[in-house]
Symmetry: C2
Subunit: 231 residues, 2 copies
Amino acid sequence: MSIEKDLFKLKPIAYTTMADQVENHLREYIIKRSIKPGDPIPKETEIAQALGVSRNVVREALSRLRMLGMIESRKKRGMILTQPDVMKGLELIIHPTILDESVRKQLFELRLVLEVGLGDLLFRRKTEEQLKKLDAIVEREQKATTQIERIRCEVDFHSMLYEMAGNETLHRFQDILMPVFEYVVEYESKLDHTSVGSVTHADLVKILYANNAEAYPNAMRKHLMPHLDHL
Amino acid sequence: MSIEKDLFKLKPIAYTTMADQVENHLREYIIKRSIKPGDPIPKETEIAQALGVSRNVVREALSRLRMLGMIESRKKRGMILTQPDVMKGLELIIHPTILDESVRKQLFELRLVLEVGLGDLLFRRKTEEQLKKLDAIVEREQKATTQIERIRCEVDFHSMLYEMAGNETLHRFQDILMPVFEYVVEYESKLDHTSVGSVTHADLVKILYANNAEAYPNAMRKHLMPHLDHL
DNA sequence: TACCTGAATATGTAATACTTAATGCAGCTG
DNA sequence: CAGCTGCATTAAGTATTACATATTCAGGTA
């Protein structure tokens, strides 16, 4: 008998609660009926009755969807579907201190990958005005006297690149990941002495001005080389 | 009086429920006390009493955190913090049909950016075995007779690249975004006649074998050029 | 010692009642 | 008739209570 018991001990992980099931039901409901943002969804009581569960459980499921920005609710009007922010879910989880070391490292790698690949978006969408801003940041950096100020410029420069890429989702992605980047940069700075890549910010700006899309990826690679070498 | 009314009409959006507040309280609690995965968190009743709300509200908040994989609960042991999957939140939201056109487009751009920038991870981590698999895919593709089969190979090839990058988070990211990519590819294929970039999969494999990290980004850019031109 | 049993405990679910905000309708007033 | 007032209605938010279920632990028995 103890043997049988052991066999069953492998299973019980797959336990799903009523709230989980209701949540999935609602997802399917939304997808199958191709409900669009602005459209109403059934009342809490209706859902509860239809699925044969307590209103309590339904509220838990709805609460989750609301957190993700998939639905909104008004006191009498009921609940309506909304266009969710795709990056909302990421934002809710990412906090440097609760992520373990290896995940932080992976996210940082992700950043390096993004910046090297960013070129084509930049060249298609950059504006004169944005290039001027980059110039200003580079200038500020060269005049900087403190380490703090230099790091600020570093962050501003790379943030500006994401903005220039003209992709709202990507920009938001970077914004969410920023705290993680800072965390890693601080960590790395303790290892070696802030070694700088052979390509500077000024060099990168020059390439952008020159419309040299071919040169960009490898220039950025060289700029980021100190980080890449940590991989 | 109607003027005053208009002034106030701008405000009422900022409504937060008890569940929202409890959720935030719990987040702070976890962060401030730097609770680590495996550590227990207070019982539902304790939280409810401490914050002066009903257990119901607490459960809604906990339910949300559980969905994101931040906590797990066992019948008696109480609830413990777990290492969340950073990409879980994304997975919960992303479904091609509920994302609007512009967001899908932005995610697809994100993919292009990633693949161009992927080089340095690939060259540092690729194994002989993985390269052989790429060879096999290319061979399969060349023998393919149907369009369906060719598309399968296309997907397999690019998926394999992400796998080779040896970054679990990135790989998962790609996995989640896949349905969106397929959606866009299908859309594009209606526009022009599946124009192929001047660099083939076989060319890319050759570069990987040759350990030519400098050549990779621009080769991939050329490979993806048909997509890039849609930007 | 090994096994069974039952109490204690914390989460999961249900049911009910009340509060609050928004909406609409009906009726009143000018 | 127009416009305002106020009441009824509706649906979400919150609270309370009770019970089900599973897990842990301690204590008793062979």
